[in-house]
C-alpha cells in the first residue's frame, strides 16, 4: 500500500496519527468546513465534480460515435476533431469522454469495495479487540507486505477481463491501509468518555457502533476513500495497459494502451498520447488534494517546524502600540 497517500505513513505511525487530535466529538459539519477552508481541497473537489459530471453526461457530449471511423487515421486536432483521431480514425475527444465514464466508474466502485472491506475489518478489529483484533491485524500486516501490483496482475490474469473483476480485484487488494487506519480510530473513539457513558447506560454493541463509533470514524473513512479513488484509477490504467483490462470498455488506461500499441509515437500523434495521461494525472492530483486536506484537518500531525530559515522577527514597539 504505497501509493495510497502522498504522505504515507508507516504501519506503526498509522496508529498514532489517527489517534491524535480527536479528543472531542466531531460535529456533522466538520468535513464541510475542513474542505471549504482549504483552497487546495476546493480546487480538487471542483475538478472531481467536473469529471464526475463528464462521466454522467458524457454520452450526450461525445461529438462522434466511438465505434466509427469519422476522420483519417491519426488526423491532427482540427475544428472537426478537437483532439484529432486515433489509429482507427476515431475521434479522440469522444474516446476521452467515454473513457472518463469507465475510469471514474472503476475508481469510485473499487474505492467503495476497499472502503467496505477495510472499514468492516477496521471497525471489527478496533471495536471487538482481543484475539479477533490480533488475528485480523496480522492478516492485514501480511497483505500489506505482499506486493500489490504483481498480485493484482496475477489475479487479473486468472479471473478474466471484465470491469467487474477489475473493480473487485482492486478493491480487495487495497483494503489493508484503510483497515489499519480505521482500526486505530475506532480504538480511540471507543475509549472516549461519551462512548463509555453510552456503554455504561446499556447501549448494545450494534447501537454503539452505528450511533457512536461510525459517525466519528466516517470523516476519516471518507477521506481515505477519496485517496483510494486515485489509487483505483491508477491501478485500472495499469491493469489495462498490460492487456488485462475489459476488452469492451474504453477507459483512460485503454487509451494509453491504444496509443502504445497503435504506434502513436511513430505517427507523431501526441494528441493520442497526451490527453488520457493528463486526465489520469489530474484526477489523481485532485483526489490527493481533497483526501489529504481532509486527513490533515482530521489529524493535525504536523507540528510547528522548529527549524526554518526565517527565525522570529523583531518588531519596533512603537508601531505596534500605535495601532492598539
Amino acid at each position: 500500500m504505497t501509493i495510497d497517500h502522498p504522505l504515507p505513513a508507516a504501519p506503526e505511525q498509522l496508529e498514532e496519527l489517527s489517534a491524535e487530535g480527536l479528543g472531542e466529538r466531531r460535529t456533522p459539519g466538520f468535513i464541510r468546513s475542513a474542505i471549504l477552508t482549504q483552497p487546495a481541497a476546493l480546487v480538487g473537489l471542483g475538478v472531481l465534480f467536473f469529471f464526475v459530471f463528464i462521466a454522467i453526461f458524457g454520452s450526450y457530449l461525445e461529438p462522434y460515435s466511438i465505434h466509427d471511423k469519422t476522420g483519417p487515421v491519426y488526423a491532427p486536432p482540427s475544428s472537426a476533431h478537437w483532439l484529432g483521431t486515433d489509429d482507427g480514425g476515431v475521434d479522440m475527444l469522444s474516446l476521452l469522454i467515454a473513457g472518463t465514464r469507465v475510469s471514474m466508474e472503476v475508481g469510485f466502485a473499487a474505492a467503495l469495495v476497499a472502503m467496505l472491506i477495510g472499514g468492516a475489518v477496521g471497525v471489527i478489529s478496533g471495536f471487538v479487540g482481543g484475539i479477533i483484533d490480533v488475528v485480523l491485524m496480522r492478516i492485514t500486516d501480511i497483505f500489506l507486505v505482499i506486493p500489490d501490483i504483481p498480485l493484482m496482475i496475477v489475479m487479473a490474469a486468472i479471473f478474466g477481463r471484465s470491469l467487474r473483476n477489475i473493480i473487485i480485484i482492486i478493491g480487495i487488494i487495497y483494503w489493508t491501509s484503510t483497515a489499519r487506519l480505521i482500526r486505530a480510530q475506532v480504538k480511540s473513539v471507543r475509549e472516549r468518555v461519551y462512548v463509555k457513558r453510552a456503554r455504561s447506560l446499556g447501549a448494545t454493541n450494534n447501537r454503539l457502533v452505528f450511533k457512536h463509533v461510525l459517525p466519528q470514524v466516517a470523516p476519516l473513512l471518507i477521506a481515505n476513500t477519496v485517496l483510494m479513488v486515485a489509487l483505483a484509477v491508477f491501478a485500472e490504467t495499469y491493469i489495462t495497459f498490460l492487456g488485462l483490462g475489459d476488452p469492451s470498455a474504453i477507459s483512460w488506461g485503454r487509451l494509453i494502451e491504444n496509443a502504445f500499441l497503435g504506434n502513436a509515437v511513430l505517427n507523431n500523434a501526441w494528441w493520442a498520447i497526451v490527453p488520457p495521461g493528463v486526465c489520469v494525472t489530474i484526477v489523481i492530483l485532485a483526489c490527493t488534494m481533497v483526501g489529504q486536506s481532509m486527513e490533515d484537518a482530521l489529524n493535525p500531525r504536523l507540528k510547528v517546524g522548529h527549524l526554518s530559515v526565517r527565525r522570529f522577527r523583531l518588531r519596533p514597539l512603537g508601531g505596534k502600540l500605535d495601532s492598539e
Binding site: 504505497t2 505482499i146 496475477v154
Partner: protein, 325 residues
C-alpha cells in the same frame, strides 16, 4: 536487551509467515483457474488417455492437499516447475531477465533515492518557501502520473531529442561481426538503460520526495529539535545530526513498503521501453497465458519484496535503539 533479540526473532518469523502465506496464495490462485494445465492442451495426440497419463505424471490427479504438499516440497528444492509454453524450467527462465531488471532498477532507484532525499530534506527545511511549494507540486505531479504514460511521453518528447534509443537493451548492429569491446558493450547497455531508469526514477522520485518531506517535517517538529536549537546547533547540523537520522526511520519503512510499487513500475516501464527484464517476461507470459511462469515470477517478486521488507526491519532495528517488539 532481551526485547531487542525478540524483535529480530519476531520479524524473522513474520517474514517467514508472510512468505508462507504468499506461497499458499500463489498455489490457490493458480488452482482457481478453470481446468488445469492439461485440459487446455490441444494436439492431435492429446487423447483422453494421453491427458490422463499426463495428469498422472504432473500429479494433477492427486487431491489438492497432496498437490499442495508436493508444491511446497518442490519449492523447498527451488523448483518452480516447467513453463507452460517453452517447457523449460521456470527458474532458469527467470534468471536472465532478472539480471537485466536488477541493473535498470538499481539505476532508477538510486537516482530517485538520492534526489528524493535531497529535495525532500530541502523542502522540509525550507517549508513554506517557493522551493518547498515547487518541489511539492513537482513531486505530486510525477507521483500522480501513470508510469507507462510517463514512459510514452519520454519516448515521444525526449528520446530523439537527446539521441537515446526508444527501446531495447542493446543496439541491433552491436556485435554482429564479432564481439564488441567491454567499453562499447557497457556504453551501449547504459544508453539503453537510461530512459527506462529515468522514467522509473521520476515516478519514485515523486513518491520519495513526498515521503522524505513529511518525515522530515514531522521530525523537525519534535521537541529534541528544539533542544538542539537551544543548544546552539546550526540548522545544517540539526538536519544532519538530528533530523535525517530520525526521519530515516519512517523513510526506511516506507521505501521498503514501496518496493511492491517499484516492481510494478518496472513491469510497465520495461514493456514501454522494450527492455528485456522480468517485467517484459511477465507481460509476455500474460500474453501467452504461461501460468507456471507467472506463478514463478510472482513468487520471486513477492519473496524479494518480503526479503527487502525484512532487511528494512533489520535496518530499522539498527537505526532505532527503542525497538523491542
Amino acid at each position: 536487551m532481551e526485547g531487542r533479540a525478540d524483535y529480530v526473532v519476531k520479524r524473522t518469523l513474520f517474514a517467514l509467515l508472510t512468505v508462507f502465506v504468499a506461497v499458499t496464495i500463489n498455489f490457490l490462485l493458480f488452482r482457481a483457474l478453470p481446468g488445469d494445465a492439461v485440459s487446455g492442451l490441444r494436439c492431435q495426440h492429446c487423447t483422453i488417455q494421453f491427458k490422463a497419463a499426463l495428469r498422472h505424471d504432473l500429479g494433477l490427479d492427486k487431491s489438492k492437499w497432496e498437490q499442495y504438499k508436493i508444491y511446497l516440497k518442490q519449492l523447498a528444492h527451488g523448483n518452480l516447475g516447467l513453463s507452460d509454453v517453452s517447457h523449460e524450467p521456470v527458474r532458469g527462465l527467470l534468471w536472465d531477465p532478472l539480471k537485466n531488471t536488477l541493473l535498470m532498477l538499481t539505476l532508477g532507484t538510486v537516482f530517485s533515492i538520492i534526489f528524493g532525499l535531497l529535495t525532500g530534506v530541502v523542502a522540509a527545511w525550507r517549508r513554506g518557501t517557493w522551493v518547498d511549494k515547487g518541489s511539492l507540486w513537482t513531486s505530486l505531479a510525477f507521483y500522480s502520473m501513470p508510469t507507462q504514460w510517463l514512459g510514452l511521453m519520454i519516448v515521444y518528447f525526449v528520446a530523439d531529442r537527446i539521441g537515446l534509443p526508444h527501446g531495447g537493451i542493446q543496439s541491433p548492429d552491436l556485435g554482429i561481426l564479432g564481439n564488441p569491446s567491454t567499453y562499447d558493450y557497457w556504453k551501449d547497455r547504459l544508453e539503453h538503460m537510461i530512459l527506462p531508469a529515468l522514467t522509473l526514477g521520476l515516478v519514485l522520485y515523486g513518491e520519495y520526495t513526498l515521503i522524505v518531506r513529511s518525515a522530515m517535517l514531522e521530525t523537525l517538529g519534535e521537541d529534541y529539535v528544539l533542544t538542539a536549537r537551544a543548544k546552539g546547533l546550526s540548522n545544517f547540523a540539526i538536519v544532519r545530526k538530528h533530523g535525517l537520522r530520525n526521519a530515516m526511520l519512517p523513510i526506511v519503512t516506507l521505501i521498503a513498503l514501496s518496493l511492491g510499487f517499484i516492481v510494478g513500475g518496472a513491469i510497465t516501464v520495461e514493456y514501454v521501453f522494450d527492455y528485456p527484464g522480468i517485467g517484459l517476461a511477465i507481460v509476455d507470459a500474460i500474453d501467452k497465458r504461461d501460468y507456471t511462469f507467472l506463478q514463478g515470477a510472482f513468487l520471486l517478486l513477492t519473496i524479494s519484496v518480503i526479503l527487502f521488507n525484512f532487511l528494512a526491519d533489520l535496518l530499522y532495528f539498527k537505526l532505532d535503539p527503542r525497538v523491542t517488539t
